[in-house]
């Protein structure tokens, strides 16, 4: 057989083949569409108006940024429980540096450095000391939050002055049509991270390490460096989420970040990323964020009492992960 004329074989064309290759992405999309069909069916007045989507676009990006980065951590077969605390610590750094310097840009930079530094510590504890990530990040979850409480003395910080910064509209301003700037950033982050996940050497290394760390090591992939980089990415994303949140509400609470842990991880798991590592999807996480982020408002708008929210949350998550487990079992 001649070897020179063998070229890249085309993937099987057509929509059917595309769906078959990405069964889980297809399933999550179907779940989103079904959910919105119900919302629109029950409350067409609310769901055909743009207002509710504008509201979603304001609040989704916080969970969104966290969930996108957490997808890399979960793909490694690791977990990070400390990111809400990192978000709080970075938000404090952001507010404090801003008030001290009057510069939003400097505050943002300092917050990112603080977030990445927290991630570096998490990564070093996991890789160099060998503490399992679920244990290590329970420890640092308390540690970072404790540091925030000590530094802020449990107090909030009013940050209304942020609105006067020329950079403020770049962070949380409104685009034409009232689309919040943070939603645009979230879209950009999702697109860039999806490319990295699927097409960059780093993404490929994350998948390989999560699939089989021993093999990755034998193939010369720097396993520890890949893991540390993912924890730093998580820390940086938590810092960004903190910066965006504080900039939107112009107030820092010592509890900033609390309550984001489970929704963000739920979005990752609904999106079909495997807790065993080695398999996942940024697209799935993106759709998972849309679902998790619009569920509560949707339930309330449908006239169901707010305390049903958790039941429906729970059902959504449990049913979707069961569907994925069945899909994967069938795929063998």
């Amino acid at each position: 057989m001649a070897t020179a004329d063998i070229t890249a074989p085309p993937r099987e064309p057509g929509l059917g083949a595309l769906l078959r290759r990405n069964r889980i992405d297809a399933a999550i999309t179907a779940i989103l569409l079904a959910l919105y069909a119900i919302f629109i069916g029950v409350r067409p007045d609310v769901y055909t108006s743009f207002d509710i989507y504008r509201a979603f676009m304001t609040t989704l990006p916080y969970i969104g940024l966290l969930a996108l980065a957490a997808t890399f951590i979960v793909t490694l077969g690791e977990i990070d429980l400390s990111f809400p605390s990192v978000m709080g610590l970075s938000a404090w750094v952001y507010g404090t540096v801003f008030l001290a310097s009057g510069s939003l840009g400097l505050g943002l930079l300092a917050a990112l450095l603080a977030g990445a530094a927290c991630g570096l510590v998490n990564g070093l504890i996991v890789t160099k000391i060998g503490v399992p990530s679920i244990v290590a990040t329970i420890g640092t979850m308390f540690l970072w939050r404790g540091i925030v409480n000590v530094l802020a003395e449990g107090q909030g910080i009013p940050l209304v002055a942020l609105r006067d910064s020329p950079l403020h509209p770049w962070v949380v301003g409104r685009l034409p049509g009232g689309i919040p700037m943070q939603f645009a950033w979230f879209l950009v982050a999702a697109a860039v991270l999806a490319l990295i996940y699927r097409r960059h050497v780093f993404g490929s290394h994350v998948l390989f390490v999560g699939d089989n760390a021993a093999s990755a090591r034998m193939m010369g992939i720097p396993v520890d460096r890949v893991k540390i980089a993912c924890f730093m990415l998580m820390g940086g994303a938590a810092a960004l989420a903190g910066v965006v949140l504080v900039s939107e509400v112009t107030y820092f609470w010592a509890t900033t970040g609390d309550g984001f842990l489970l929704p963000a991880l739920a979005a990752v798991f609904i999106g079909g990323t495997s807790v065993f590592g080695g398999r996942g999807s940024i697209y799935g996480t993106f759709v998972g964020v849309l679902i998790i982020g619009s569920l509560e408002a949707g339930i309330v708008a449908m006239g169901i009492a707010g305390f049903w929210t958790q039941v429906i949350y729970g059902l959504m998550i449990t049913v979707s992960v069961c569907i994925y487990a069945l899909i994967m079992r069938r795929a063998g």
Binding site: R199, F208, N212
Partner: protein, 260 residues
Amino acid sequence: MTTGTPLVELRDVHVSFGRVHVLRGVSLAIRRGEVVALVGDNGAGKSTLIKVITGLHRPTRGELLIRGEPVRLRSVADARERGIETVYQERALADQQALWRNVFAGRELRTFLGFMDVRRQRAETERLLRTRMGFTSRAITVDSDVSSLSGGEKQGVAIARALHFEAELIILDEPTMGLSLKETDKVLDFVRRVAAEGRSVAIIDHNILHVHAVADRFVVLDRGQVAGVFEKPQISRDDLVAMMVSLHETGQMGGADGHR
């Protein structure tokens, strides 16, 4: 058999881990285009010897020469750069990843900013698939996950991957372990083809029959030393087996220091 400078040569190599003296003055040459089998009981030092050549262990004493030049390998990557590839017993594949990712794991082809050249990786994998692995009969494509392959096919992928990077010496660590008879034949066939291309192979295998079928030369290790080197015509399969058995027995009688 080719002559001239050996591809890889060990001169009086010692390796100790703390007080345990695993290799005690091993000298050995691997020539171009030959298949060398390393045989010996568990703990004879086969794996340690292999790891010296692949850059995982450094000799405590003695010299390693590649193409006649003394070298100090610091890592697996170092050895690879010099054309030495290892196919590990565990095969070093990731089950849930596509073949095109597995073949290039750790040395991806890049375009810009560290992005992978996916098109070329798929094309090269396709070429390997069709020409090296001979996966023409089944519905295996470059996008197939490794988990959909049989044990023999996985071994084929691991060996083909080693070949792709222009290795001059391929080290196979227990390549037929856990394979069916038919798959074993395939792997042994592979070894013969590699040697026919003028590349060298060093093979460790517990199964003397498999080794005897493909090797040109046998290096018998016993408790960290070379107990004998035999060209294939000099030694029959039965003699080789008999020798292994007798070494095993003296090793047992030799007592505690025989095992590691």
